[in-house]
């Protein structure tokens, strides 16, 4: 079977439709993962043992099981309990929860890296817990985390093809439907691969820059 450029141009608009959904899912998933991760990191530091243990175990469980199965769980099991989600929403929740457990570790490391003296100084200045977190700790903890967070968001981007399994019409699904309609696999699948490769090569450059700009962690 030969590579056919005419066919490539013919299917391009359909694939671009898919690219839009892929990017949308990645962005929404990243936002959710950033929030969920912070929540998990804070809950694990909570003085309430029951809370920190439960959240810790749940995070461990989510990290130890495949994203695909979690997506199936959200998409197929939750409707039994009356929670009916559109595919894209289910996908974004799956991505956000799964990667939230990874970003939680980044937050944990970032928070632990804030020197002890900062906590003591906050206490000495008579700041409340909320003031300490919002004005002292978080602003210092976030910048060194940015490269590691970005790394996980890029990893998430590469996992978005899994959403096709729960009928989200993202890039991979569009490519598969094109392939099944015309019974040509070479062009669509190769284009999807090339698209991901190009984006990740660019993101390597972006990561280097982020590391250079923010990633100064004192050891």
């Amino acid at each position: 079977m030969e590579w056919d450029w005419n066919f490539v141009w013919e299917i391009m608009p359909t694939l671009i439709q898919g690219v839009k959904i892929t990017i949308l899912a990645t962005l929404l998933g990243s936002v959710l993962a950033a929030i969920v991760g912070l929540g998990i990191a804070l809950a694990r530091r909570s003085p309430n043992k029951a809370l920190s243990r439960t959240v810790g175990f749940l995070a461990e469980f989510i990290r130890g099981t495949p994203l695909l199965v979690q997506l199936y769980f959200i998409f197929y099991v939750l409707p039994d309990f009356g929670i009916l989600l559109p595919p894209l929403v289910a996908g974004v929740i799956g991505l956000g929860l799964h990667y939230g457990t990874y970003t939680a570790e980044v937050y944990r490391a970032g928070i632990d890296n804030v020197p002890r003296g900062q906590w003591e100084a906050a206490k000495a200045c008579n700041l409340s817990a909320t003031q300490t977190w919002t004005n002292i700790i978080i602003p210092q903890a976030i910048p060194p985390m940015i490269p590691a967070l970005a790394n996980y968001f890029i990893a998430m981007f590469k996992e978005t093809p899994l959403l096709s399994a729960i009928t989200v019409l993202e890039l991979m699904n569009q490519a598969k439907s094109v392939a099944n309609t015309y019974y040509r696999y070479i062009e669509p699948i190769t284009l999807v691969g090339a698209f991901f490769l190009v984006i990740s090569l660019f993101s390597v450059v972006l990561l280097r820059w982020l590391e250079h700009r923010y990633g100064k962690i004192e050891r």
């Binding site: 695909l68 199936y72 996992e159 093809p161 899994l162 991979m172 691969g193």
Partner: protein, 219 residues
């Protein structure tokens, strides 16, 4: 009750396929990791370039796309693979690329003085690598290899989409035959988590075994 035991048998069969895939994928990944990781620190430009291209390519495109490529596109250029072969190939090459960076990092993290000692003892490059550098580097690699193996285990769920009857596939079969979603998906989530725990426990005990006798050498 009898029918549930039948379905459980189905899921256990799936578990065997998942374990088989994880083991074979890990072996391939380990081989690729050492080939590419050592290639990255090679003296020869061509080898370094080849290893970098392999690593960037397989880390840059998603595992899902690679699997579809192996299963649907390779037959078109004359390489017919069974689902199992395609699965092992894609998983091994993908995770091998991630693990190769671990190998490179570990080799480079062995202290300069060790390399100098090799030269002082008149060991050849390969002898020094084999008897001095790798035994120390291996211990540094192990924990991350454990994480990589868990990532591989999680990635095996994707092969269900190319009709290989692994855990996730069997759960879908049970779902479509019984209409029950909660039981099959919860069961396989627990099985995946248990397998991940076994891997991390195995790696940790291996690490303890290998660290024996190295107390004075490593800090």
């Amino acid at each position: 009750m009898t029918q549930w035991s039948g379905y459980l048998g189905l899921i256990l069969q799936g578990a065997l396929v998942t374990i088989e895939l994880t083991l074979m994928g890990s072996v391939l990944a380990l081989i690729m990791a050492f080939l590419a990781g050592m290639g990255r620190v090679s003296r020869f430009f061509a080898l370094r370039w080849l290893a970098t291209a392999y690593i960037e390519f397989f880390r840059g495109t998603s595992i899902f796309v690679q699997l579809f490529f192996a299963y649907f596109v390779l037959p078109l250029i004359g390489l017919e693979l069974t689902p199992l072969q395609a699965g092992v190939l894609a998983l091994g090459l993908n995770v091998g690329a991630y693990a190769a960076e671990v190998v490179r990092g570990a080799i480079q993290s062995v202290g300069r003085e060790q390399y100098e000692a090799c030269i002082a003892l008149n060991l050849g490059r390969w002898q020094g690598m084999r008897h001095v550098i790798l035994p120390q580097a291996l211990l540094i690699m192990l924990p991350t290899f454990g994480n990589n193996a868990i990532e591989l285990l999680k990635a095996t769920s994707v092969v269900s989409l190319i009709s290989l009857a692994d855990l996730t596939f069997q759960a879908q079969v049970v779902r479509s035959q019984t209409g029950n979603t909660l039981v099959p998906f919860t069961t396989i989530l627990i099985i995946y988590f248990a397998l991940a725990l076994i891997i991390s426990w195995g790696v940790r005990s291996l690490e303890r075994r290998m660290a024996r006798g190295l107390d004075g050498v490593r800090v």
